[in-house]
Amino acid sequence: MSKPRVAVYKMSSCAGCQLEILNLEPILLDLLGTVELSYFVMARRENEPGPYDIGLVEGAITCGEEIERLKKARQECHLLVALGSCACYGGLPSIKNWQPQRVVESRVYDNLAAIHSTTAYGIDYYVPVDAYLKGCPVSREELLDFIKSTLLGVRPYLRPHSVCVECKLHENVCLFVTDGAICLGPVTTAGCGALCPSRGKPCDGCRGPANDANTVSLAQTMVSYGLHHSDIARYFRKFAGMTPEFSKGAEAV
């Protein structure tokens, strides 16, 4: 059997998720024994044309040219995967969506003539998506699990519940109840191994809403901690403000 062919596409992003693929270095050779990285501009000089078995799309869609490339990617890949928070639901680029486009653009570019930016969306706004690998950046562990499960034809175990579950499994001191810090862990999807709270930093919600995220209730607690509604909105809009759940949280108070 020939090895499954994998393509990695980059849209609007910092390339951090692609870097995570390269960060698999210690096992990259083993991985390459399993799959063929056929298209990966960041890592290969020569790239092979499609079709591919698995397409990993990094980045949000923020301009017309990307919509076209995304549609082409959808056509040439059997499975299309949103790689990282930007591709899943807009991620960091989506913080611009709450200000007028021109205002945001003029902050970054001197000459706006060639800039045709649109609202930042996750890729499923334009094409059907087969799987979502959340995280900013994506979790290497989860990416590997996903690839292995796909090759075996079984459903990957992607944790749908809150970060608190993993935080508890690691017996962290809860930053929320013990230190009085605002932590988005209770409403954010696990799978990162509670990376931030395990290092004493509250969860920023980079993995987006957990499967039953009660953001309205969390926003009310934030108010009782003395947060202004604009701060609460910023918390929820930092990574996943375009999701219905986090947008509800941002607007709850």
């Binding site: 083993d30 499960s149 608190c164 508890k168 017996e171 209770p186 995220a213 607690t221």
Partner: protein
Amino acid sequence: MSVAYARQAEWGIPQLYLLPAAKLNPFLEELKEYYTVIGPVARGKEFVFAPVAKPEELALSYQTTLLPPKKVLHLPFEVLFSFHEDQQIVETAPEQRPQVIFGIHPCDVRAILILDKAYTAEYPDPYYIAKRRHTLLVALNCAEPGENCFCQSLGTGPDLKEGYDLLLTDLGHGYLIEVGSPWGRELVQTMDLAPAPRVAMVEKQKVLENARRKFHKKLNTQGLPELLEENFRHPIWEELMHDCLACGSCTMVCPTCFCYNVVDKIDLNLKSGKRQREWDSCMLLEYAQVALGHNFRKDRDARVKQRIYHKLVYYEPQFSTLGCVGCGRCIKTCVKKIDITDVISRLRGE
């Protein structure tokens, strides 16, 4: 045979010894020769059960720990076996070195007695049993209940009557030791301890009387099943549906919760891997989802109810005891301060 516990039955009247405060550390050093000693140690502003490297680390004046000591018998993550394509299955060899859980509070001992029933009765769990067999419980009566504790209401604290190998009570100048099993007797015999004077029992009662006066929370257990059955539709559940974050923390920290999920971790060669289990929780949306996507407890109020009804109603017919031991961890851990004692008193109209 159930692990809980033939050794209790053979043993009648407790024997009393006195461990002077100055002898505690030598006692621990002695224990460490033969056992892995697991006790409360500080982690930031909180406490956790962890292997005690030096006796000075032991923080016996702790009130509660983040996770209950259940975690050393039923591990948060546990590899059950590894497997290979050609059908080979290699079981994880159980740890042979016996362990002592030192300074475990009465509520947590009672919780382990419940787990003993859950894991050894109908479907004996070899992984739990293997560890339980090698585990001694050196319990410590509570002198200072924490602000969320309500074990007194459930008869699971602040003192302990069964289930221990040794039971300590801090009398200030030293520890009264009560022997609860032949194993416990062996432990004290190695230590050349003086028998306790009779007055030590009086001192113990004083310590406990004092502790009993310090509880802030209570849960009235009178007619609990009826109360809950009558109030299956009560406005409070809707309120909790809006409040609860469905984060699952309350069940993750509960000493009597015993659910787990099983996951396969496949190696990159796609031919071998390991099967592992980890704690799961009925508070999580995916828990009650079945094939084709139907979910029996889709709404949060249904899950909050399940947690509370399971603890306070459904355990009884199965295990002849309530499923809550009043440790207060679920209250402490909840970002929304959802409080099982408060729910009950509100259902009573108090």
